[in-house]
Symmetry: C2
Subunit: 121 residues, 2 copies
DNA sequence: AGAAGATATGAGCTTGTGATCATATGTTGA
DNA sequence: TCAACATATGATCACAAGCTCATATCTTCT
């Protein structure tokens, strides 16, 4: 991943100040990660998994209040993105958050949410 | 905001393990915040603003490579969400990130992205 | 093997959302 | 005041994404 340094002085294009924005590809990838957390149901699933450690699809669906099919579909996305991992035990499949960084990310997000000024529209 | 404690032992419902998922409303709100960052263009805008401090719509549009209209529309969303603030100076309107927490959030997200295991599909 | 359970997946439908175009608002200078 | 500029906003369209329904896969039990 190529994250442009924040205050380099490399000569770049001309006209627009040519700042050091996030590279287009990196932005796409990062946005994709955020998108996974940008859906209430998925967010709750991740939260539930962080909290419980491991949960099977059925329980997760119950906790979230979604159908098992919808839950499975969403878990698939999270799984393909590497955000959760699956472990089969008999008929059930247990999911868990694959990367503890997610916990930190959510904590920071909650902090941000708490401090966000929601008074000036 | 009511974030359920992670390991409380409060008696809750019955059937589904009744874990301590994020409340539905909180999940919605948090997801909304994430959604703002879940779009490459908006993400790059925020990044550019964090980097430059302040930028007018036109320059921002140039850096991102979007039309001024699209940029304005997206800035509107960020503004309504309180993520950025606008300051008018003559004909131009300068935008800046309203909450430094965003920087931390992005840093953590990048960290997560770097550490994410993208090898098991 | 066959049935039932748990999850996965594909197709189709419906809603949400970003981009564009047209237009409105606000600002500066002639 | 009028023209040109900068931004904002509303309407519309096209595409992305979630949900559901039907079906497939995998596992256990009899």
């Amino acid at each position: 991943m190529v994250v442009m340094p924040r205050h380099s002085h490399v000569a770049e294009g001309s006209v627009p100040p040519a700042g050091h924005t996030l590279g287009i590809d990196d932005a796409r990838h990062l946005a994709e990660r955020f998108k996974l957390l940008a859906e209430p149901s998925r967010l709750r699933m991740v939260y539930a998994l962080l909290d419980a450690g491991e949960l099977c699809v059925n329980d997760l669906a119950g906790m979230i209040g979604s159908s098992e099919s919808a839950t499975s579909h969403q878990l698939r996305q999270l799984r393909l993105a590497g955000l959760v991992r699956a472990r089969r035990d008999g008929r059930e499949v247990f999911y868990a958050v694959a990367d503890e960084h997610v916990r930190l990310l959510l904590d920071v997000a909650v902090e941000h949410y708490l401090h966000a000024d929601r008074t000036k529209p």
